[in-house]
């Protein structure tokens, strides 16, 4: 036996934990994963990091690993059949060239991937879209997640990332945690919150649910879903009214305060009580605690972003930090904690319709000329379409010429993850060309004309960006199955076949090209990342002395053009689809700690599947259960104006009677059949956290159980699970 120890970064969330793998090289098998001493994780791992590598063994629980390209050789209605890489690449190149010629470059959209592939693959993807297709139609799942944070903070502070780093959280004196459920989404970040509390920090949690963080908080503001902005403005109101603000900081480092002061006059805790459902005394208390230190940290997640007013709330949270001088030093500021392992990275790499890598705007002439020179082609200057508008641009384009024709889905599964799934299915049907690039068969691949199999995390090299801007290395732990290619190699081959030769020896070569084009990443060489374990951007100098930046906006100098933080004054408005008689409760989508994203990976990990499996749970207040006469574990039917699904009743007093909660990774209990595609006007993030729905008792439980079972078998069959494999 040749045993090797290999260090890598976890693939499951932005905490960026370091894992040490023990590998049997001869058998090409992982024997064990233990926590390594990474900057963020200090030797600890959550269940996904510790047991979530099992999918690399391909146990075929939910889906089957792809090991060669598939093509519908005889048109749309023919089955996907194995083909050679030459055929697959030839097909993709030919079809894209045809579509580009006939309908123009903007008739195609390609996604980046915030999951396994890594930064280098995303860099190559956006380069392909911009340089070869000639469009800025590149985007990724940050759109359905933290796009609001990026858009909002860029305006307020000039940088869309967490202003502090994960380890700094534990030295905060106050943590204001709003719409963020760390224990379920980033257990190892939650650990820092627990430690901060142990060290004496005050913890204020604003969440409609009694989350684990709310449970251990000093003050839980259990607000009504959809009322975030009313609360945040009320906090600003109290800080001004009770003169808790930092006048010196406001004068020296910000602009726009007067307009903001005028607006929040209308938002007293008393006048907003009917919107938030919170006692004015509690809101006042929260404001006093928050404004009492210069080490107050605001953490937020999807409970802020996945609303049609997400960007406004993000900017308003920045207002709170600006008016209290909570920027410029360690353990302070704002923390939009990025969800997926490399969603920060996919943004960093410019897998966004308006930014080149390194947040250099496509509308900025100087930046564009730099990339044109480097890539040797003319580049488009108009921002592209966002991914959540794909249904609109396919089904109801603004003009017929603007219709989208081709969709290259790289490392995502919109037929599971996007809002309003029946509309998404209609969209995929209506496209002329659907290309899926993934490690597994998935729901979107069922609509694909061609499926391109890639190497997985654990089978390739690269760099991820953790939620706090840390660049960390991922390493090849196992040999990939024969017949798959790295993601960047796939894009390079198609690009070459389309007449723009791209050839890279390895990820380091790609990395060097991209850091050379991004001043804020310029100093973060592979060598330095190796040497120091993690480098947080900005890192501008190749010299070893520049080890990156742990917190942003030092001494109140913001990343905006004039260095000032910007106050934004915005009014609250109600969510788009509110409850009524027909659909009397609201549905909000949340996270399951042991599962990740669309579940193709964790759903194929034995022990994680043992802990939770189809069809998943719907969290309901015990009184609602009583009214509907449903018990723990019983199957219930949920429906909205857009669709329905079945789920198991989970009575819990941690949620209020007016709302139910479902996690989005179940394929049978798919809550996105119900969610609404209504978008924030700026970030284009859907309102996943609020739509009207109805829960019904299912009389014939046996029949319903049979349905779940047969659905599961049918999914497995469609996903190519080999029945004989364990026989």
């Amino acid at each position: 036996m040749t045993i090797e120890k290999i260090l890598s970064t976890c693939v499951y969330c932005g905490a960026g934990c370091q894992i040490l793998f023990t590998v049997d090289k001869e058998k090409n098998k992982i024997l064990e994963a233990t926590g390594a001493n990474g900057v963020t994780n200090q030797g600890k791992l959550c269940l996904k990091g510790r047991y979530g590598w099992d999918f690399l063994n391909d146990p075929q629980i939910l889906t089957k690993r792809l090991t060669g390209p598939l093509l519908r050789k005889n048109g749309r209605n023919s089955p996907l059949e194995p083909c050679s890489w030459e055929e697959a690449v030839g097909f993709v190149a030919r079809r894209l060239t045809e579509i580009k010629k006939e309908y123009g470059p903007d008739s195609m959209l390609v996604t980046g991937s915030a999951r396994g592939p890594g930064n280098e693959a995303n860099y190559v993807t956006q380069k392909f879209v911009r340089a070869v297709l000639g469009s800025n139609n590149v985007d990724h799942c940050a759109r359905i997640c933290h796009a609001a944070s990026v858009a909002g903070l860029l305006v307020s502070l000039g940088s869309g990332a967490m202003s502090l780093s994960v380890p700094e959280i534990e030295d905060a004196k106050v943590i204001f945690n709003i719409g963020y459920n760390g224990p379920d989404s980033h257990p190892i970040v939650a650990r820092r919150i627990v430690r901060a509390k142990q060290k004496g920090a005050a913890l204020i949690v604003a969440d409609p649910r009694r989350t684990e963080t709310a449970r251990i908080s000093d003050l839980h503001l259990q607000l009504k879903g959809g009322s975030n902005l009313a609360l945040v403005n009320a906090l600003g109101h109290v800080i001004i009214e009770e003169k808790l603000l930092d006048k010196t900081f406001i004068e020296a480092h910000t602009k726009g305060f007067e307009e903001y002061r005028e607006l929040v006059k209308r938002y007293s805790p008393e006048s907003t009580e009917s919107i938030t459902g919170l006692k004015p005394g509690d809101v006042r208390k929260a404001a006093r605690i928050y404004a009492s230190t210069k080490n107050s940290v605001i953490l937020w997640g999807m409970g802020v972003c996945q609303f049609s007013q997400g960007v406004d709330v993000v900017k308003s949270l920045a207002n709170l930090a600006l008016m209290t001088g909570n920027f410029g030093h360690s353990s302070t500021g704002v923390g939009p904690v990025r969800g997926q392992n490399n969603v920060q990275g996919a943004c960093d790499m410019g897998a966004l319709p308006n930014y080149f890598p390194g947040y250099q705007s496509v509308t900025d002439k100087e930046a564009r000329e730099k990339f044109e020179k480097a890539w040797g082609v003319k580049l488009p200057d108009k921002p592209g379409i966002t991914l959540t508008r794909v249904p609109e641009f396919v089904l109801h384009p603004p003009t017929p010429e603007k219709k989208l024709r081709a969709y290259w889905v790289f490392g995502e599964d919109p037929a599971q993850s996007d809002a309003d799934l029946s509309e998404m299915r209609e969209t995929l049907h209506a496209l002329d060309l659907v290309i899926v690039q993934d490690i597994y068969m998935n729901k979107t691949a069922e609509f694909a004309d061609v499926v391109l199999p890639a190497t997985s995390w654990g089978e390739h090299e690269g760099v991820y960006s953790a939620c706090d801007r840390s660049f960390q290395r991922i390493r090849k732990v196992l040999e990939p199955p024969k017949g798959v290619l790295t993601d960047w190699e796939i894009f390079s081959r198609v690009s070459t076949a389309m007449g723009y030769p791209m050839k890279y020896k390895n990820t380091e070569e790609i990395w060097n090209e991209l850091i050379g084009l991004c001043p804020s990443f310029y100093g973060a060489t592979y060598q330095k990342i190796e040497k120091f374990g993690a480098i947080q951007w900005p890192c501008r100098d190749r010299n070893d002395a520049d080890r990156g930046t742990s917190f942003l906006h030092k001494d109140g100098k913001f990343a905006t053009k004039d260095g000032k933080g910007v106050f934004t004054a915005v009014d609250w408005h109600a969510p788009v689809e509110v409850e009524d008689q027909e659909y009397p409760v609201t549905l909000s989508t949340v996270r399951e700690v042991g599962h990740y994203s669309v579940r193709t990976m964790t759903g194929n990990c034995r022990t994680l599947r043992n802990l939770e499996d189809e069809p998943g749970w719907v969290q309901m207040n015990p009184e609602l259960c009583k009214d509907l006469d449903v018990k723990h574990g019983e199957l219930v039917k949920l429906s909205s104006r857009r669709g329905f699904c079945f789920s198991r009743c989970f009575p819990t007093e941690r949620v209020k009677k007016d709302a139910v909660y479902m996690t989005y990774q179940w394929w049978i209990g798919a809550c996105n059949e119900l969610t609404i595609g209504k978008l924030d006007p700026v970030s284009n993030t859907p309102e996943y956290k609020y739509c009207a729905c109805r829960v019904e008792k299912v009389e014939d439980q046996n029949e319903a159980e049979r349905y779940i079972k047969s659905e599961y078998s049918s999914i497995k069959a469609r996903m190519g699970v080999d029945k004989e494999v364990w026989a």
């Binding site: 098998k29 992982i30 024997l31 064990e32 600890k44 791992l45 959550c46 269940l47 510790r50 047991y51 099992d54 063994n57 146990p59 629980i61 760390g182 224990p183 379920d184 257990p187 190892i188 939650a190 650990r191 627990v194 509390k197 142990q198 009694r210 684990e212 449970r215 251990i216 700690v593 042991g594 034995r606 022990t607 994680l608 599947r609 043992n610 802990l611 819990t652 007093e653 941690r654 364990w726």
Partner: protein, 189 residues
Amino acid sequence: MNGFVQGNPLLCIGCRTCMIACVVAHEGKRIFEIDPDGYDFHPKLKVVKTWAVSAPVQCKHCENPACLSVCRSQAIYKNDGAVLVAHDKCIGCKSCAEACPFGAIEMVTLCSEQNSDGSPRTVANKCDLCQGLEGGPACLSVCPTEAIRRQDEETLSDTLKRKRVGAAEALLTLGAGDHQSHILKSQSV
């Protein structure tokens, strides 16, 4: 005194890594190579969540165990500071599960063993402190927030000492009001 593992609800984040660790410790790493339905997934501790609490609950390894005294088939025994179940002797009568005041015993069905009539075998399952397994209690070693600790004679006596000091200090303000004001008065004279 028997030791036991104990959760701390102020540190627990409810992630249930401990529950998987318990299974992996007992079933062995072989489970990552076999039929996904070919092993038993029966954690010997359960994470309980209510409005006020999240914490793992497991056996206290009682000195005079209720489970042991009700077991009619001598399946429960004490060994080296732990209360254990001999699965081969367990007849699945459930008496121990009913008797345990902490709900720490669960009846589980085994995937690879049958009763004499061929039906799947159901036995009592409980924390064994990972006795005989390398590395000691697995739940404790994986918990990301160190919310599980081993309570033994020494740690318990530390806890008790601390509590006694607290109780003694509380005497100054609680219940001993008259006495206290008398002391204060005499001091001020």
